[in-house]
C-alpha cells in the first residue's frame, strides 16, 4: 500500500484581511487569498490542476478556476459538515497529488459570516432529519447544541467555567500578539469573562467564536516539487477523517456515548499513520468554534485521558511556553472564524518559524477540524 506520509507538502499560504465587514464579495475574497497563496509558493495560476473546498463554500471551483486562470483541472473535491471539513481539504489534495491525479492543488475557504446571515435563522429551509427532534424545543443554534454537551462534561468530570476561560484566554493572548487578528490588542480578563452575557448557559459570549468576513487558501504539491518552491516546505505527515459509528452530528445525544466524539475516530487513524505521538507535538491548532471543543479534542486526540480535558488547561498549559501551546494565531475564538482554515495556515507558519507567537524550534503541529461534526485532522511536519 502506498504511503501518503510526507509525500506532499504545503508550499504556499494566503489570506485576506479579517473583519466584521469587508466590501469584497466572497468570490473576490477567495481569488485574493488563492492568488496570494500561489505567489507565496512561487507557482503560476496556470499550473493549478486540483481544487478542494467545503460543501458550504459558495465559490465553486469552476468559477474560481476561471477567475484565477487555472489550467485544466483533473481533481476536485468538496467535503461536508461545515467546520469538520477544513483539514480534509488538505487531505484530499495530498492523496490526489501523491497518487498522480494532479500536481498543484488549492484548498480554500471564503466566507462572509460577519456581515452575512446566520444559517440557524433560516427556518424556511427544510432541515436535515435531526432538526425535527431538536428545533421545536428551542435547541436552535450550534452554541445550544455544544452547551448541552458542555454541561454534561461539567457534571461527569468536574470541568468548570474557569477551564473554559483558560481556553478563551490562551486564544485571546495569542491574538493580542497577531496584528492580523480581529482581537489584536484587545485583552481579555477573567472578570470580563465571568461577567459577560450568556449565549447558551453554561456558555457565555467569550465561549463563542467570532463571526468573520475573510478568506484563506493554501497550495499543496508533491514533496519532490516542493524542493523547488519559494518557501520552506511543510510536509503533510498524516491525515484522517472521522465519522464514528452511531454519530449524529452536533446533536450527538443519540449516540451511546455522546461525549466521545469524532475526534476519537480521526485520532486513531491519524496516529496509526504517524511516526510520532501526541507527546511529540510541539504546537497544536485545535478547532475552537466554542471553548468546550478544546477539552473534548484534547481527550479525543490523546493529549490526556477521558474526562481530563478541563484539568489539562490548568497552569497555563495552553499558553506559549506551556505543555501544549494552542491556536497561536488566536484561533476561531480570537483571530477569525473562517471555518477553521486559519488554523491550517497558522500551523504552516509555525513550522516555517514565522508565527507571531512562534514556538521555538517547532517541528510538529497538529491541526484539527470541527469536533462535534464528522471531522478531519492533519499532522504537519517541518523538513
Amino acid at each position: 500500500m502506498a504511503s501518503l506520509k510526507d509525500a506532499t507538502a504545503i508550499v504556499g499560504i494566503g489570506q485576506t484581511p479579517f473583519a466584521k465587514q469587508l466590501p469584497d464579495s466572497e468570490k473576490t475574497l477567495a481569488c485574493k487569498a488563492i492568488l496570494a497563496a500561489l505567489d507565496d509558493a512561487g507557482i503560476a495560476p496556470s499550473e493549478v490542476d486540483a481544487f478542494a473546498s467545503y460543501t458550504m463554500e459558495e465559490t465553486d471551483e469552476v468559477e474560481v478556476a476561471k477567475a484565477i486562470g487555472a489550467g485544466d483541472v483533473t481533481f476536485f473535491s468538496k467535503v461536508g459538515y461545515g467546520g469538520g471539513g477544513s483539514c480534509a481539504t488538505v487531505a484530499h489534495l495530498a492523496a490526489a497529488i501523491a497518487t498522480g491525479q494532479a500536481s498543484v492543488g488549492i484548498a480554500w475557504r471564503s466566507r462572509k459570516r460577519g456581515s452575512g446571515p446566520r444559517p440557524w435563522k433560516n427556518t424556511a429551509v427544510q432541515l436535515p432529519t435531526p432538526a425535527q427532534w431538536t428545533r421545536p424545543f428551542g435547541l436552535l443554534r450550534p452554541a445550544d447544541e455544544i452547551a448541552m454537551l458542555a454541561r454534561r462534561h461539567m457534571h461527569e468530570y468536574g470541568t468548570t467555567r474557569d477551564h473554559l476561560f483558560n481556553v478563551a484566554l490562551a486564544c485571546r493572548n495569542r491574538a493580542n500578539q497577531n496584528p492580523a487578528a480581529m482581537m489584536y490588542e484587545r485583552p481579555l480578563t477573567r472578570d470580563m469573562y465571568m461577567t459577560s452575557r450568556w449565549i447558551s448557559e453554561p456558555l457565555c459570549l467569550f465561549d463563542n467564536c467570532l463571526e468573520t468576513d475573510g478568506a484563506l487558501a493554501c497550495v499543496i504539491v508533491s514533496a519532490e516539487r516542493a524542493r523547488d518552491c519559494r518557501q520552506k516546505p511543510v510536509y503533510v505527515h498524516s491525515t484522517a477523517q472521522g465519522l464514528p459509528a452511531q454519530h449524529h452530528g452536533m446533536v450527538n445525544y443519540w449516540n451511546d456515548d455522546p461525549l466521545s466524539g469524532p475526534a476519537w475516530t480521526a485520532a486513531r487513524h491519524l496516529w496509526k499513520q504517524a511516526d510520532f505521538g501526541p507527546e511529540d507535538v510541539d504546537v497544536a491548532q485545535i478547532y475552537d468554534a466554542f471553548t468546550p471543543l478544546i477539552p473534548l479534542s484534547l481527550e479525543g486526540y490523546g493529549f490526556c485521558g477521558r474526562g481530563e480535558g478541563g484539568a489539562f488547561t490548568e497552569g497555563g498549559a495552553l499558553e506559549s511556553g506551556g505543555r501544549l501551546p494552542i491556536n497561536t494565531g488566536g484561533g476561531g475564538l480570537s483571530e477569525a472564524y473562517v471555518h477553521g482554515f486559519n488554523l491550517i495556515n497558522e500551523g504552516v507558519k509555525q513550522l516555517r518559524g514565522t508565527s507571531t507567537a512562534q514556538v521555538p524550534d517547532a517541528a510538529t503541529c497538529l491541526v484539527t477540524a470541527g469536533e462535534g461534526v464528522p471531522t478531519s485532522a492533519v499532522l504537519l511536519r517541518a523538513p
Binding site: 432529519t129 432538526a131 425535527q132 428551542g138 436552535l140 449565549i199 453554561p202 445525544y253
Partner: protein, 152 residues
Amino acid sequence: MADAKTKQEPLLTPTVDDDGAPFWEHAARGELRIQSCTACGELRFPPRPCCPHCQSFDSEWRKMSGRGRIWSYVFPHPPLLPAYAAQPGYNAIVVELADAPRIRLVGNLVTAPDAPLNSIAPERLRIGAKVQVAFTTLDDGHTVPRWVLERP
C-alpha cells in the same frame, strides 16, 4: 410568568419526515412511542428505515412509560428566533428514558403541559432529576411532548 406566553410568532413546528411521522402521530394521541425493530427488538432513535443491529426493515412503535431523567440542560439567550426570545430564560433539556437510558429526547421542562417554556424556575433543573412526559398541542395543531418534574 404564565401569562408571558407571547403568540405573535409561533414556535417552530417539527419538519416531519417519513421515518419520523409515526412518532408525531402517536404524540397527537398523547402517547410516547419509540421505534423498535420487529426482528431483534432493539429500540432506535431517531427513527430510521432499517435496524442498525440486524438490518431488518420491519419496525413497530413501542409504548414507553414516559418516565425519564434529565441528562443535561441549557438556557439559551439571545440572539434567538422571536418566539423563543419572547420567553427569556427558557430551558432546553435532554431526557434519557427510564425504559431505555440510551434513548434520549430533546425537550423542555415546564410546570404544566401548556405552560410557557420558561415557566419553571431555573434552579429546579438538575442533571438526574426525574421527569415525566406530558403533551401539549400548539396553536397550529401540532402536538409535542413536554416534561414535568416527577416531584413538582
